[in-house]
Amino acid sequence: MATLLEIKNIETFYRLIYALRGVSLSVEENTITAVLGNNGAGKSTILKTVMGLLDDQPDKGTIEFMGRRIDGKDPEVIVRMGLSYVPEGREVFDELTVKENLLMGAYIRRDRAGIKADFEKIYVYFPILKQRESQWAGTLSGGEQQMLAIGRALMNGPKLLFLDEPSLGLSPLLVKEIFKIIVEISKRGVTLLLVEQNARMALSISHVGLILENGRFVMKGKSSDLMQDKDVQEFYMGVRSEESAKGFQRWKRKKRWR
């Protein structure tokens, strides 16, 4: 298995806020990697840093994608290398139609036949988008916007796809549907890095899981193992247990997750 993405010890600041405190992560080809963590842990910051969306960041550390350094590069360049990003909160183009949104996903491509085929593929994944084709994206429901955001990123033709909390604000039924399609996308040869608060869902479909707290990874393992872990169960999946393990004493218990 080849390593697609290799993040080594990156540190990221928002002015004086020390958001990532030495994060390392490698993503293997054809896997789903899940990053879990509390609100404010720094999950989105990892993705934004790698995508080159934060000016002059990472402050320290290196990022390699398919063997080439990408830290310090602009998102416009990074997406052309085959790394795509579905941002938290969907960020569709509100006043463009669904079709135009997808067309913007294909902005960097010239292969007409491939673009056409991908359009069809996305309409198979998400038939509702076909129905809404000429509607403004801003008029879609949250779930439909999430589908559109994923579809738009797939139109980039990525090797590796970042998904930032695709389940955010969706009904349990829709979450299931989206995750089913995420698995489908992965099977079609797109490697995935999934950021989630919905630990149960994320661990159930991923191969590797990592847990982020205060800008550092505190745990890493096979997803199936993490699912069995008492502390992960208690702190991330809302399962009550009698005693809490020593390593997790310093974790402040916060809002319980679904």
Binding site: M51, L53, D74, P75, E76, V79, R80, S84, Y85, P87, G89, E91, V92, F93, D94, E95, L96, E100, L103, M104, G105, Y107, I108, R152, N156
Partner: protein, 290 residues
């Protein structure tokens, strides 16, 4: 009489519409009303004059040359001044565009002085066409048609071309545009080039009826701005309609109420819109998420 006033109102309105379009295109992308717009157009018009009069080129060449100059001027101003502003707020951006205004005015005054000149236009302002009971000069008719064609082209551009849609995408969500590979800086350059070119068109259509001096665009700019405000500042169609409306209202006011105070109509409209529809100016302002 009414029809006559209406008709020439529409002809003038199409000039205001062009200026309003030029302003709105920039406003939507750079989020600043460009008060340098008028002087950019004025300077471009002087370039046409220079090519035509001083260098003796054909009208066609001079006209095209001026448009190219306008495009480059737009790109230059955005690149050199606006892009340098780090974390700009709206006030500092407005100040920068006022800076353009003063610099370009200064350049034109220094180069061409305060003399009034004639931009000889191949279409006559004196030969008239009858439209029903009203008449319109060839020049006004040409203005009307050029503006109309330009608007249709703009509409098609934003509707059907990849770059046009990418411009809208960038206006709506720059971050999302970037992660899809749209080079936002390039879009900004295209925006300023387009806007400046449209403004120059307006300038060159206006110069033959007005007199070509550095003050050429002072009043038209105010009126174009009023039209844009009237139209809500964020829609191209609104800006165009605003231009026609202002042209007509102003002309009717001049014909039936008072010719002397015709010019204050535009100002009155800005004030009225801001009083009664204060949201007008920022009606569809996109909230940017950080």
């Amino acid at each position: 009489m009414f029809l006559q006033l209406l008709l020439s109102g529409i002809a003038f309105g199409s000039l205001y519409a062009l200026i309003a379009l030029a302003m709105v295109i920039i406003y939507k992308t750079s989020e600043v009303p460009n008060f340098g717009q008028g002087e950019m157009a004025m300077l471009s018009t002087f370039v046409a004059f220079m090519l035509l009069d001083t260098y003796g080129h054909s009208f066609f060449v001079s006209f095209l040359g001026a448009l190219v100059f306008a495009a480059l001027l737009g790109v230059f101003l955005e690149f050199v001044f606006l892009r340098r502003a780090k974390d700009p707020n709206i006030l500092s951006l407005i100040l920068i565009t006022l800076g353009f205004e003063m610099i370009l005015y200064g350049v034109a005054s220094w180069k061409w002085g305060a003399d009034q000149r004639d931009l000889s236009f191949p279409v006559s302002d004196f030969d008239l066409v009858n439209i029903g009971p009203a008449v319109i000069s060839y020049l006004n008719l040409a203005t009307l048609l050029v503006a109309l064609v330009l608007m249709v082209l703009l509409f098609l551009f934003f509707r059907y071309t990849k770059v046009g849609i990418a411009m809208k995408a960038t206006q709506q969500n720059p971050m999302a545009a970037r992660i899809n590979g749209i080079r936002v800086n390039r879009i900004l350059s295209v925006t300023w080039a387009m806007s400046s070119t449209i403004g120059a068109m307006a300038g060159m259509l206006l110069a033959p009826v007005a007199t070509l001096d550095p003050n050429l665009m002072l009043e038209p700019l105010l009126k174009g701005f009023a039209s844009a405000v009237l139209g809500g500042m964020t829609t191209l169609v609104g800006a165009a309609l605003g231009g026609y409306m202002l042209g007509i209202i102003e002309n009717l006011f001049g014909g039936y109420v008072s010719l002397e105070f015709k010019s204050i109509v535009a100002f009155g409209i800005i004030v009225l819109v801001l009083c009664f529809r204060p949201s007008g100016l920022f009606a569809k302002h996109y909230v940017r998420k950080v």
